[in-house]
């Protein structure tokens, strides 16, 4: 073997070992974090669902708290809600799509009533848009049509752009009395340099969004599920504390794993790293360019990949396919052939490109059509209860009687 060849072999070996290390690190990260913060594994939920769907069975939804309250409501035929917001700093990417697919699956299989706050105020106060106008434009032009185009049921879905729903701020003002600046700063990592709008948004407006379905206008206290990434768990903890003080049902949470960004497994797909994400508005050429330069779980040496297979768990394209597209049979087949070296990285990228371009072409049409249906989804219910009561919890108690 020549010195050059030996050196390539060594580099490939080191690359492979590093990928294995990353895989183990990421896999143990989620499990350790789950145990550390005292969440339950979703494994037993799989046993109790007739069809656990791809998100539970592929361990994308891997942890929960109080999901039993949701199953309870489903089995008793009682209404329950999901709250899941979207920050309209730009169009949706495939990480967002996966999140909305989870909501959609929960709506279709378990009958969830879904509230989707589009947080234009957040986009502005945290500096992700330079004006409320820009944030609102993103909301109505890209986010809401894309969300509707995914197939949500208008009878079971309410979307609102927070800056266009000022009643929410009265609820936030009311709820703010149940919080302290110290607790908000601690949970959200804010300090004195932060603008007061961010503090008000994170502390009170976000809590109002989470607890909104339990206000009397929306039927009063009910089980509410908040699907989030594990980094958002502290927000749910704080909302559970507030809910208890209001005699509401403390929100349940369902935690998902992040979709790996195109630049590698250590970063999730994120709008703040534009080339880490494929957007639902991307042109085919952009998609091809991004996929071509995407990180891979395969080996730089084809012979090594054929022999050992790819480290599929850290491969962004396999992750994207896992979260977004494949049926169980397809997933098992591709997983096996990619892990065993029968499928090469280039072939996987080609396959992913086809799936993505097909989807985007269809989605583009559906998004345009969805713009005509926005009104069917927009939440406009006035929130009067917080203005008319001496104490919110008393009113809720009265409603129950």
């Amino acid at each position: 073997m020549s010195a050059d060849k030996q050196s390539i072999q060594e580099i490939a070996e080191a690359d492979y070992q590093e990928k294995l290390r990353l895989r183990n690190e990421i896999e143990s990260y989620y499990e350790e974090k789950r145990k550390e913060i005292g969440l339950d594994s979703t494994k037993r939920i799989i046993d109790l669902l007739e069809d656990p769907g791809p998100f539970f069975s592929r361990n994308i939804l891997f942890a929960h708290k109080d999901f039993n309250l949701i199953l309870d409501a489903v089995d008793k035929g009682q209404e329950w809600a999901i709250v899941s917001g979207f920050n309209p700093s730009g169009p949706l990417h495939f990480g967002h799509k996966a999140m909305f697919d989870i909501l959609l699956w929960l709506q279709r299989t378990l009958g969830a009533y879904i509230y989707i706050p589009i947080t234009s105020d957040e986009t502005y106060v945290v500096g992700k848009a330079n004006s409320l106008r820009a944030a609102r434009y993103n909301a109505y032009e890209f986010a809401i049509p894309s969300i509707i185009a995914l197939g949500f049921d208008p009878k079971l879905t309410r979307i609102y752009v927070t800056s266009d729903y000022p009643d929410l701020y009265n609820a936030a003002i009311y709820i703010s009395r149940f919080l302290t600046t110290n607790s908000v700063n601690k949970v959200f990592g804010l300090d004195a340099s932060e603008n007061p709008g961010a503090l008000f948004y994170m502390g009170a407006v976000q809590m109002a969004q989470i607890l909104l379905p339990q206000l009397p206008e929306f039927g009063g206290p009910k089980p509410t599920l908040i699907p989030v990434g594990i980094d958002q768990h502290p927000y749910i903890t704080i909302s559970r504390n507030v809910a208890r003080r209001l005699n509401f049902v403390p929100p349940a949470e369902l935690i998902w794993k992040f979709l790996i960004g195109l630049k590698g497994p250590t970063k999730k797909m994120s709008s703040s790293i534009p080339d880490s994400a494929i957007y639902l508005t991307d042109e085919p050429e952009d998609v091809k360019r991004k996929i071509k330069s995407a990180y891979s779980g395969g080996s730089p040496l084809a012979s090594m990949q054929k022999e050992r297979g790819a480290v599929v768990e850290i491969d962004p394209m396999f992750s994207l396919l896992t979260f977004n597209f494949l049926s169980d049979d397809e997933w098992a087949k591709i997983h096996e052939s990619y892990a065993k070296g029968a499928l090469m990285t280039g072939e996987l990228k080609k396959l992913a490109t086809e799936y993505i371009l097909d989807f985007l072409s269809e989605h583009r049409k559906k998004r345009e059509d969805a713009k005509k249906h926005i009104d069917e989804f927009i939440l406009r219910t006035p929130i009067k209860s917080v203005l008319e009561m001496d104490q919110l919890s008393n009113l809720v108690a009265d409603e129950k009687e």
């Binding site: 037993r44 939920i45 799989i46 046993d47 109790l48 669902l49 007739e50 999901f67 039993n68 309250l69 949701i70 199953l71 309870d72 409501a73 489903v74 089995d75 008793k76």
Partner: protein, 353 residues
């Protein structure tokens, strides 16, 4: 294919697992039958004050089925239902012992009535009837002596006690554990719920250490409460895995979710069944399926035959709808259990509750 012991041990509608395998149990039983007079089969139960559960019938019927099938082959067999009155008193204040012992007598009599109604051919005994005999006390003494000199055996005795009760039992010199082990190691086949594996395994090792033939056990499907939804089973992992104690109506405070013979009306059975979640998912607790299995066994005994029960397979093959399963459960429980036992209950032959 004839229905024999091996087939009964392999009945997936009833059996969840066994130690050793069904094939080995069958071989061992037949080998033992050649060497000794009688094959001893047992199921033992304690009880509470809340009555006699429908779920106990599964064990009576299964033990009786082992007995019937072996008798048909000409194998001498003693299928025994042990009503553990003394064990029931163990963790109760002394002031209640007399009442509980009376309940035990009533319970044993009720089992005898069930035996008579369905022609089961069971031997029903009370723990108090043998516990104080010289023969049994000698057996206990042998186990104690072995535990005194062999730390490993003592550890096995300790393992038969739930972790939460080790301290209490230690203060009592593990009397209950020694009695329990000395009782079960004498049998050729023990039938029970899956949770009993926790004390059957140590008992098996102790029996072997004493040079006895290894204890063999068949575990039937766990008993799940009726009319509980999936949220309950997600929250209570232990009940989802092991079920409730089949023979104690008040297990986990869920007596309202059980059928208690002589207490639960047909109307309540209908309500309990209709409010139960029935799923084709085999991992989901399915108490309604168990009702159909038990009442089908009752039906077979009424017709004087013991044969295969394939309802579990047929249900999971989806040849029976979930609504049909519920309807069958209601009809069969009524026709083959509640009505036939009604005269026993109405005639006040059952024990005083």
């Amino acid at each position: 294919m004839s229905f024999d012991l091996k087939a009964l041990l392999n009945q997936t509608s009833l059996v969840v697992n066994s130690t050793p395998s069904p094939v080995e149990i069958d071989e061992n039983i037949h080998a033992r039958a050649k060497n000794k007079k009688t094959i001893r089969v047992m199921y033992g139960e304690t009880y509470d004050r809340l009555g006699h559960t429908f779920d106990s019938l599964k064990y009576y019927f299964y033990v009786a089925a082992v007995g019937n099938l072996l008798r048909k082959e000409g194998v001498p067999v003693e299928p025994t239902i042990l009503v553990a009155d003394v064990a029931t008193c163990r963790n109760e204040p002394e002031s209640r012992h007399a009442e509980l012992m009376e309940l035990g007598k009533g319970r044993a009599n009720f089992v005898r009535e069930i035996d008579e109604t369905y022609h089961l051919g069971l031997n029903v005994i009370l723990m108090s009837e043998y516990l104080f005999t010289d023969e049994f006390q000698e057996q206990v003494s042998r186990v104690r002596k072995l535990a005194d000199v062999n730390k490993e055996v003592f550890n096995w005795i300790e393992q038969t006690v739930p972790a939460s009760k080790v301290e209490i039992e230690n203060d009592k010199g593990f009397a209950y554990a020694f009695d329990e082990v000395a009782t079960i190691i004498n049998y050729d086949l023990k039938v029970g719920p899956p949770r009993e594996i926790f004390y059957d395994e140590p008992a098996r090792r102790i029996g072997q250490a004493m040079g006895l033939e290894p204890l063999q056990c068949v575990y039937l499907h766990p008993t799940f409460p009726l009319a509980m939804n999936r949220g309950f089973f997600l929250k209570d992992e232990e009940v989802a895995q092991y079920g409730v104690t089949p023979y104690k109506a008040g297990s986990r405070g869920l007596e309202a979710n059980r059928i208690v013979l002589g207490q639960t009306s047909i109307e309540s059975v209908v309500e309990l069944v209709n409010n139960s979640i029935v799923s084709y998912k085999p991992t989901m607790p399915n108490p309604v399926l168990d009702l159909v299995v038990i009442s089908e066994m009752a039906h077979q005994y009424m017709n004087g035959e013991v044969s295969s029960i394939d309802i579990r397979e047929r249900f999971f093959d989806k040849t029976i709808s979930t609504d049909q399963l519920k309807q069958t459960a209601i009809e069969n429980v009524t026709n083959y259990v509640l009505n036939p036992l009604d005269f026993v209950i109405q005639g006040e032959k059952i024990y005083e509750r």
